[in-house]
Protein backbone atom coordinates (compact mmCIF):
# COMPACT_ATOMS: atom_id res chain seq x y z
CA UNK A 1 0.00 0.00 0.00
CA UNK A 2 2.75 2.37 1.02
CA UNK A 3 4.78 1.46 -2.04
CA UNK A 4 1.70 2.03 -4.20
CA UNK A 5 1.05 5.51 -2.79
CA UNK A 6 4.65 6.71 -3.29
CA UNK A 7 4.43 5.52 -6.88
CA UNK A 8 1.18 7.40 -7.40
CA UNK A 9 2.73 10.54 -5.95
CA UNK A 10 5.72 10.28 -8.28
CA UNK A 11 3.51 9.71 -11.32
CA UNK A 12 1.26 12.62 -10.33
CA UNK A 13 4.30 14.91 -10.54
CA UNK A 14 5.05 13.45 -13.95
CA UNK A 15 1.49 14.04 -15.08
CA UNK A 16 1.74 17.66 -13.93
CA UNK A 17 4.90 18.19 -16.01
CA UNK A 18 3.21 16.74 -19.11
CA UNK A 19 0.17 19.01 -18.69
CA UNK A 20 2.35 22.07 -18.09
CA UNK A 21 4.59 21.21 -21.05
CA UNK A 22 1.59 20.70 -23.34
CA UNK A 23 -0.09 23.99 -22.40
CA UNK A 24 3.16 25.96 -22.75
CA UNK A 25 3.98 24.35 -26.12
CA UNK A 26 0.53 25.04 -27.58
CA UNK A 27 0.74 28.64 -26.35
CA UNK A 28 4.17 29.18 -27.88
CA UNK A 29 3.18 27.55 -31.19
CA UNK A 30 0.02 29.64 -31.54
CA UNK A 31 1.91 32.82 -30.55
CA UNK A 32 4.52 32.21 -33.27
CA UNK A 33 1.75 31.49 -35.81
CA UNK A 34 -0.16 34.69 -34.92
CA UNK A 35 2.99 36.82 -35.12
CA UNK A 36 3.52 35.65 -38.70
CA UNK A 37 -0.10 35.69 -39.94
CA UNK A 38 -0.78 39.17 -38.55
CA UNK A 39 2.56 40.55 -39.77
CA UNK A 40 2.85 42.46 -36.50
CA UNK A 41 6.22 44.03 -37.19
CA UNK A 42 9.17 44.27 -39.56
CA UNK A 43 10.57 41.21 -41.28
CA UNK A 44 13.73 41.07 -39.15
CA UNK A 45 11.80 41.40 -35.92
CA UNK A 46 9.44 38.56 -36.89
CA UNK A 47 12.35 36.27 -37.80
CA UNK A 48 13.97 36.98 -34.43
CA UNK A 49 10.72 36.54 -32.51
CA UNK A 50 9.85 33.25 -34.22
CA UNK A 51 13.38 31.92 -33.61
CA UNK A 52 13.25 32.87 -29.93
CA UNK A 53 9.81 31.27 -29.49
CA UNK A 54 11.09 28.06 -31.13
CA UNK A 55 14.10 28.01 -28.83
CA UNK A 56 11.91 28.51 -25.75
CA UNK A 57 9.63 25.68 -26.87
CA UNK A 58 12.69 23.49 -27.47
CA UNK A 59 13.78 24.07 -23.86
CA UNK A 60 10.22 23.53 -22.55
CA UNK A 61 9.91 20.18 -24.33
CA UNK A 62 13.39 19.08 -23.24
CA UNK A 63 12.51 19.74 -19.60
CA UNK A 64 8.84 18.71 -19.50
CA UNK A 65 8.62 15.93 -22.10
CA UNK A 66 12.14 14.48 -22.35
CA UNK A 67 12.87 15.14 -18.64
CA UNK A 68 16.41 16.29 -19.25
CA UNK A 69 18.24 17.33 -16.07
CA UNK A 70 16.22 15.11 -13.73
CA UNK A 71 18.75 12.28 -13.64
CA UNK A 72 21.10 11.75 -10.73
CA UNK A 73 24.87 12.12 -10.96
CA UNK A 74 26.77 11.18 -13.03
CA UNK A 75 24.72 13.04 -15.64
CA UNK A 76 25.60 11.11 -18.77
CA UNK A 77 22.38 12.10 -20.54
CA UNK A 78 23.19 15.77 -20.13
CA UNK A 79 26.78 15.16 -21.23
CA UNK A 80 25.72 13.39 -24.43
CA UNK A 81 23.16 16.12 -25.05
CA UNK A 82 25.77 18.86 -24.74
CA UNK A 83 28.07 16.92 -27.08
CA UNK A 84 25.23 16.76 -29.63
CA UNK A 85 24.56 20.50 -29.29
CA UNK A 86 28.19 21.37 -29.98
CA UNK A 87 28.37 19.08 -33.03
CA UNK A 88 25.10 20.52 -34.37
CA UNK A 89 26.32 24.09 -33.81
CA UNK A 90 29.57 23.42 -35.68
CA UNK A 91 27.71 21.63 -38.49
CA UNK A 92 24.96 24.20 -39.07
CA UNK A 93 26.85 27.44 -38.42
CA UNK A 94 29.90 26.10 -40.27
CA UNK A 95 27.87 25.06 -43.34
CA UNK A 96 26.07 28.39 -43.54
CA UNK A 97 29.31 30.33 -43.06
CA UNK A 98 31.28 28.37 -45.66
CA UNK A 99 28.48 28.43 -48.24
CA UNK A 100 27.76 32.15 -47.88
CA UNK A 101 31.47 32.87 -48.08
CA UNK A 102 31.78 30.77 -51.22
CA UNK A 103 28.72 32.48 -52.63
CA UNK A 104 30.26 35.88 -51.92
CA UNK A 105 33.66 35.04 -53.40
CA UNK A 106 32.83 32.74 -56.28
CA UNK A 107 29.54 33.95 -57.79
CA UNK A 108 30.22 36.45 -60.57
CA UNK A 109 28.02 39.51 -61.02
CA UNK A 110 24.89 39.13 -63.21
CA UNK A 111 26.65 41.13 -65.92
CA UNK A 112 29.63 38.77 -65.94
CA UNK A 113 27.26 35.78 -66.12
CA UNK A 114 25.45 37.30 -69.13
CA UNK A 115 28.75 37.96 -70.88
CA UNK A 116 29.84 34.40 -70.25
CA UNK A 117 26.57 33.05 -71.64
CA UNK A 118 26.93 35.18 -74.77
CA UNK A 119 30.47 33.94 -75.25
CA UNK A 120 29.29 30.37 -74.99
CA UNK A 121 26.56 31.19 -77.50
CA UNK A 122 24.03 29.04 -75.76
CA UNK A 123 20.28 29.40 -75.68
CA UNK A 124 19.74 29.96 -71.99
Amino acid sequence: MNHESTRNLATRNRLATYVAGYILSVGLTVAAYLIVTHTISTRDFMIGAVAVLAFVQFVVQLLFFLHLGQELRPRFKLLVFLGMVSIVAILVIGSLWIMSNLNYRMTPSPKAINNYMKQQDGDF
Partner: protein, 204 residues
Protein backbone atom coordinates in the same frame (compact mmCIF):
# COMPACT_ATOMS: atom_id res chain seq x y z
CA UNK B 1 17.19 -14.65 7.96
CA UNK B 2 14.37 -12.38 6.83
CA UNK B 3 16.70 -9.43 6.64
CA UNK B 4 18.92 -11.37 4.27
CA UNK B 5 15.96 -12.22 2.01
CA UNK B 6 14.92 -8.58 1.84
CA UNK B 7 18.39 -7.45 0.92
CA UNK B 8 18.60 -10.09 -1.80
CA UNK B 9 15.34 -8.80 -3.30
CA UNK B 10 16.63 -5.27 -2.95
CA UNK B 11 19.83 -6.18 -4.79
CA UNK B 12 17.80 -7.76 -7.57
CA UNK B 13 15.64 -4.67 -7.92
CA UNK B 14 18.71 -2.46 -7.91
CA UNK B 15 20.30 -4.51 -10.71
CA UNK B 16 17.13 -4.31 -12.79
CA UNK B 17 16.97 -0.55 -12.26
CA UNK B 18 20.58 -0.17 -13.37
CA UNK B 19 19.88 -2.25 -16.45
CA UNK B 20 16.91 -0.02 -17.30
CA UNK B 21 18.88 3.18 -16.96
CA UNK B 22 21.74 1.74 -19.02
CA UNK B 23 19.50 0.81 -21.98
CA UNK B 24 17.72 4.15 -21.75
CA UNK B 25 21.07 5.93 -21.89
CA UNK B 26 21.99 3.90 -24.98
CA UNK B 27 18.75 4.89 -26.65
CA UNK B 28 19.34 8.51 -25.67
CA UNK B 29 22.75 8.37 -27.41
CA UNK B 30 21.00 7.08 -30.56
CA UNK B 31 18.50 9.97 -30.41
CA UNK B 32 21.31 12.50 -30.13
CA UNK B 33 23.05 11.07 -33.21
CA UNK B 34 19.71 11.24 -35.03
CA UNK B 35 19.64 14.91 -34.08
CA UNK B 36 22.93 15.32 -35.95
CA UNK B 37 21.34 13.73 -39.04
CA UNK B 38 18.45 16.21 -38.89
CA UNK B 39 20.86 19.09 -38.26
CA UNK B 40 22.73 18.28 -41.48
CA UNK B 41 19.42 18.20 -43.39
CA UNK B 42 18.48 21.56 -41.84
CA UNK B 43 21.85 22.95 -42.92
CA UNK B 44 21.23 21.72 -46.49
CA UNK B 45 17.78 23.34 -46.47
CA UNK B 46 19.16 26.60 -45.08
CA UNK B 47 21.81 26.72 -47.82
CA UNK B 48 19.50 25.71 -50.69
CA UNK B 49 16.16 27.33 -49.88
CA UNK B 50 16.81 30.38 -52.07
CA UNK B 51 17.73 28.22 -55.06
CA UNK B 52 14.29 27.95 -56.61
CA UNK B 53 15.54 27.73 -60.21
CA UNK B 54 12.69 29.92 -61.45
CA UNK B 55 10.15 27.76 -59.60
CA UNK B 56 7.97 28.72 -56.64
CA UNK B 57 9.45 29.81 -53.32
CA UNK B 58 8.39 28.67 -49.85
CA UNK B 59 6.17 31.73 -49.48
CA UNK B 60 4.16 30.92 -52.61
CA UNK B 61 3.95 27.21 -51.99
CA UNK B 62 3.17 26.47 -48.36
CA UNK B 63 -0.08 26.77 -46.52
CA UNK B 64 0.62 28.00 -43.00
CA UNK B 65 -2.81 26.97 -41.80
CA UNK B 66 -2.23 23.28 -42.60
CA UNK B 67 1.21 23.46 -41.00
CA UNK B 68 -0.33 24.83 -37.78
CA UNK B 69 -2.89 22.02 -37.68
CA UNK B 70 -0.14 19.45 -38.27
CA UNK B 71 1.89 20.99 -35.43
CA UNK B 72 -1.02 20.94 -33.00
CA UNK B 73 -1.87 17.34 -33.92
CA UNK B 74 1.72 16.20 -33.34
CA UNK B 75 1.92 18.15 -30.08
CA UNK B 76 -1.29 16.55 -28.82
CA UNK B 77 0.00 13.11 -29.79
CA UNK B 78 3.19 13.82 -27.83
CA UNK B 79 1.04 14.73 -24.83
CA UNK B 80 -1.14 11.61 -25.08
CA UNK B 81 2.04 9.54 -25.36
CA UNK B 82 3.17 11.09 -22.06
CA UNK B 83 -0.21 10.19 -20.53
CA UNK B 84 0.35 6.62 -21.73
CA UNK B 85 3.68 6.48 -19.90
CA UNK B 86 2.10 7.78 -16.69
CA UNK B 87 -0.61 5.12 -17.01
CA UNK B 88 2.02 2.43 -17.61
CA UNK B 89 3.95 3.52 -14.51
CA UNK B 90 0.71 3.17 -12.53
CA UNK B 91 0.37 -0.33 -14.05
CA UNK B 92 -2.93 0.58 -15.68
CA UNK B 93 -2.93 -1.58 -18.82
CA UNK B 94 -6.25 -0.44 -20.26
CA UNK B 95 -5.45 3.26 -19.93
CA UNK B 96 -1.97 2.73 -21.38
CA UNK B 97 -3.35 1.06 -24.47
CA UNK B 98 -6.05 3.70 -24.86
CA UNK B 99 -3.55 6.57 -24.61
CA UNK B 100 -1.22 4.97 -27.13
CA UNK B 101 -4.07 4.19 -29.52
CA UNK B 102 -5.00 7.89 -29.38
CA UNK B 103 -1.35 8.70 -30.09
CA UNK B 104 -1.44 6.37 -33.09
CA UNK B 105 -4.62 7.93 -34.48
CA UNK B 106 -3.13 11.42 -34.15
CA UNK B 107 0.14 10.23 -35.68
CA UNK B 108 -1.76 8.76 -38.63
CA UNK B 109 -3.71 12.01 -39.05
CA UNK B 110 -0.43 13.92 -39.11
CA UNK B 111 1.07 11.54 -41.64
CA UNK B 112 -2.08 11.75 -43.78
CA UNK B 113 -1.93 15.56 -43.88
CA UNK B 114 1.76 15.46 -44.75
CA UNK B 115 1.34 12.90 -47.53
CA UNK B 116 -1.62 14.90 -48.85
CA UNK B 117 0.62 17.96 -49.03
CA UNK B 118 3.38 15.98 -50.79
CA UNK B 119 0.86 14.58 -53.26
CA UNK B 120 -0.54 18.04 -53.96
CA UNK B 121 2.96 19.43 -54.61
CA UNK B 122 3.82 16.52 -56.92
CA UNK B 123 0.56 16.92 -58.87
CA UNK B 124 1.02 20.64 -59.51
CA UNK B 125 4.52 19.88 -60.84
CA UNK B 126 6.49 21.05 -57.81
CA UNK B 127 8.05 17.75 -56.77
CA UNK B 128 11.64 17.27 -55.59
CA UNK B 129 12.79 17.43 -59.21
CA UNK B 130 11.70 21.06 -59.60
CA UNK B 131 14.52 22.88 -57.76
CA UNK B 132 17.26 22.64 -55.15
CA UNK B 133 14.88 24.23 -52.68
CA UNK B 134 12.21 21.56 -53.23
CA UNK B 135 14.76 18.71 -53.16
CA UNK B 136 15.99 19.83 -49.76
CA UNK B 137 12.42 20.42 -48.53
CA UNK B 138 11.27 16.92 -49.49
CA UNK B 139 14.39 15.36 -47.97
CA UNK B 140 14.06 17.20 -44.66
CA UNK B 141 10.31 16.84 -44.15
CA UNK B 142 10.25 13.36 -45.73
CA UNK B 143 12.93 12.08 -43.34
CA UNK B 144 10.83 13.32 -40.43
CA UNK B 145 7.76 11.63 -41.92
CA UNK B 146 9.72 8.39 -42.28
CA UNK B 147 10.64 8.55 -38.59
CA UNK B 148 6.96 9.09 -37.74
CA UNK B 149 6.06 6.01 -39.82
CA UNK B 150 8.66 3.91 -37.98
CA UNK B 151 7.34 5.24 -34.66
CA UNK B 152 3.78 4.23 -35.60
CA UNK B 153 4.91 0.70 -36.55
CA UNK B 154 6.80 0.45 -33.26
CA UNK B 155 3.64 1.53 -31.42
CA UNK B 156 1.60 -1.21 -33.10
CA UNK B 157 4.19 -3.81 -32.05
CA UNK B 158 4.30 -2.49 -28.46
CA UNK B 159 0.51 -2.50 -28.14
CA UNK B 160 0.39 -6.14 -29.26
CA UNK B 161 3.16 -7.02 -26.78
CA UNK B 162 1.38 -5.28 -23.91
CA UNK B 163 -1.96 -6.81 -24.87
CA UNK B 164 -0.39 -10.27 -24.70
CA UNK B 165 2.31 -10.00 -22.04
CA UNK B 166 0.98 -7.16 -19.89
CA UNK B 167 2.98 -4.33 -18.37
CA UNK B 168 6.14 -6.24 -17.56
CA UNK B 169 9.35 -4.48 -16.62
CA UNK B 170 10.85 -5.05 -20.08
CA UNK B 171 7.70 -3.81 -21.82
CA UNK B 172 7.64 -0.63 -19.73
CA UNK B 173 11.30 -0.05 -20.55
CA UNK B 174 10.63 -0.39 -24.28
CA UNK B 175 7.56 1.82 -23.98
CA UNK B 176 9.68 4.49 -22.27
CA UNK B 177 12.14 4.38 -25.19
CA UNK B 178 9.25 4.68 -27.64
CA UNK B 179 7.93 7.73 -25.78
CA UNK B 180 11.40 9.33 -25.87
CA UNK B 181 11.48 8.70 -29.64
CA UNK B 182 8.04 10.25 -30.11
CA UNK B 183 8.81 13.34 -28.00
CA UNK B 184 12.07 13.71 -29.89
CA UNK B 185 10.20 13.76 -33.21
CA UNK B 186 7.95 16.48 -31.82
CA UNK B 187 11.04 18.52 -30.91
CA UNK B 188 12.39 18.13 -34.47
CA UNK B 189 9.01 19.24 -35.83
CA UNK B 190 9.16 22.52 -33.85
CA UNK B 191 12.19 23.43 -35.92
CA UNK B 192 10.64 22.28 -39.20
CA UNK B 193 7.54 24.35 -38.43
CA UNK B 194 9.67 27.38 -37.58
CA UNK B 195 12.42 27.17 -40.20
CA UNK B 196 10.44 25.82 -43.17
CA UNK B 197 6.89 27.11 -42.68
CA UNK B 198 7.00 30.23 -40.49
CA UNK B 199 10.24 31.64 -41.86
CA UNK B 200 9.13 30.61 -45.34
CA UNK B 201 5.94 32.65 -44.92
CA UNK B 202 7.93 35.62 -43.63
CA UNK B 203 10.17 35.29 -46.66
CA UNK B 204 13.46 34.91 -44.81
Amino acid sequence: MEEKAISAAEVKRQTAREEDSRSLLGFWVYLMTDCVLFASLFAVYAVLHHNTFGGPSAKELFNLHTALIETLILLTSSFSCGLGIVAAQRRNKKLTIMAFCLTMVLGLAFLGLELNEFHHLAVIGDSWRRSGFLSSYFTLVGTHGLHITVGLLWMVVMMLRIQRGGLTRSNIRKLTMLSLFWHFLDVIWIFIFTVVYLMGAIGA
